[in-house]
Amino acid sequence: MTETLQEETREAPEMPLHMRREGFDPVPEMAALRDDEGVRQVETAFGMPAFLVARHADVKAVLADSARFSNDSRRAFDAPGAPKLSDEERDRMRAGNLLGVDPPEHTRLRSMLTPEFTVRRMRRLEPRIVEIVDDHLDAMEKAGPPSDLVADFALPIPSLVICELLGVPYADRESFQQRTSKLLDISLPMDERLELGRESREYMADLVARAQAAPGEDMLGMLVRDHGDDLSTDELIGIAGLLLIAGHETTSNMLGLGALALLRHPEQLALVRDDPAAVAPAVEELLRFLGIVHSGIPRTTTRDVEVGGIAIPADSLVILALATANRDPRFLADGDRLDVTRDAAGHVAFGHGVHHCLGAPLARMEMRIAFPALLRRFPRLALAVPFDEVEFRAFHFIYGLRSLPVTW
């Protein structure tokens, strides 16, 4: 995800329409765009022209069609207003970035990782995730209320899980958490974010070198052992960097924002707390309703196309309004309402098509364990500040909270 952000350049100005929210909800203008026009020509945060696609069916159709809608970051680089970087640096930024390549290159990279994220593999991780969640709840209980649920629960749990899985020293978390959070913050100057991207790659290069010297039992070790001949060092660095960011920025924001959404709907919170069968559908509904990845990676058209009856010329940027599509009345009724008892299958929170989130089974497992564990440990969990003082994280590629003060 970082890679695309690094591609976009210039100072971050006004918040792009598809990232604007009122609390949990995309702004009303997004619903109007979806329900009236479907597709609108807009400017990205960096002044590049783009087409914003907001209907569920159109979003799915674009995501399913990687031949006409490319993820290849070289195309985005060539867009007017894109940053001027050396070819060497561009190649290095692109190497191993599954979100910046199309099939067949994407297929080659993804097939090396797919075996590591099977449903069966994830189930094997379950006991360790339960333990990690319990450890953090123990620490919260011991320290006593109040607590910042983001700092004490939502961020550290997925962070530790992905560190162990990947083979990243958890002791380094403070520096990489800060770095990735800033990388994804479009309000920061582009130069600063490019520099953070370079630091990030240097850090991962160090870890890759260590894994190459002595491959461990973690995913980095596996990649070196099983695919060391097929992957360049730059590709290993790219893959590892992407997994580290994707593994903690996403699930942690779902846990924080999801906990807040449940606190605002106490009867639904009680269901998730008390009925084990309610948990899995509730996680899907929270994914749908919160749509924390505002838009994912913009696509670039490889030829003249039509989306929702609107003609889009070749080499145009296409932005997919995932959060708005998840609430499309043509997809499901009353989409602006959180209802953990509904069937939210078909949401596009994890994307769709060949780039569908690789870590989705891991994210689901973490959430299915963490939400009920939190609510059962602290049955009287409550906000420690008025709702309108809760700080949402605007200007960030992934929606979330800065902090979530709670008591019990």
């Binding site: 993804r110 797919t114 590591e116 099977t118 449903v119 078909g346 098509g353 989705a360 089974p361």
Partner: protein, 64 residues
């Protein structure tokens, strides 16, 4: 109800296994394995959900 899976299209997202583990599995490569090509009626709903949920479009219902 019959199910066809295209292993060349599958990306190993595992949505089928999550929706209908009696009908689908993933091989060591993570790619779909259809356990029950002829889906027993009691698993037909789950299998249909799996087909709908597949992000890569690798699954297809072949109804007689």
């Amino acid at each position: 109800m019959k199910i066809e899976a295209d292993r060349d299209v599958c990306i190993g997202a595992g949505m089928c296994v999550m929706n209908a583990e009696e009908v689908f599995d993933q091989g060591d490569d993570g790619i779909v394995v259809v356990l029950e090509v002829e889906v027993p009626p009691e698993h037909a709903d789950a299998a249909a959900r799996a087909v709908a949920a597949c992000p890569s479009g690798a699954l297809r219902r072949v109804d007689a």
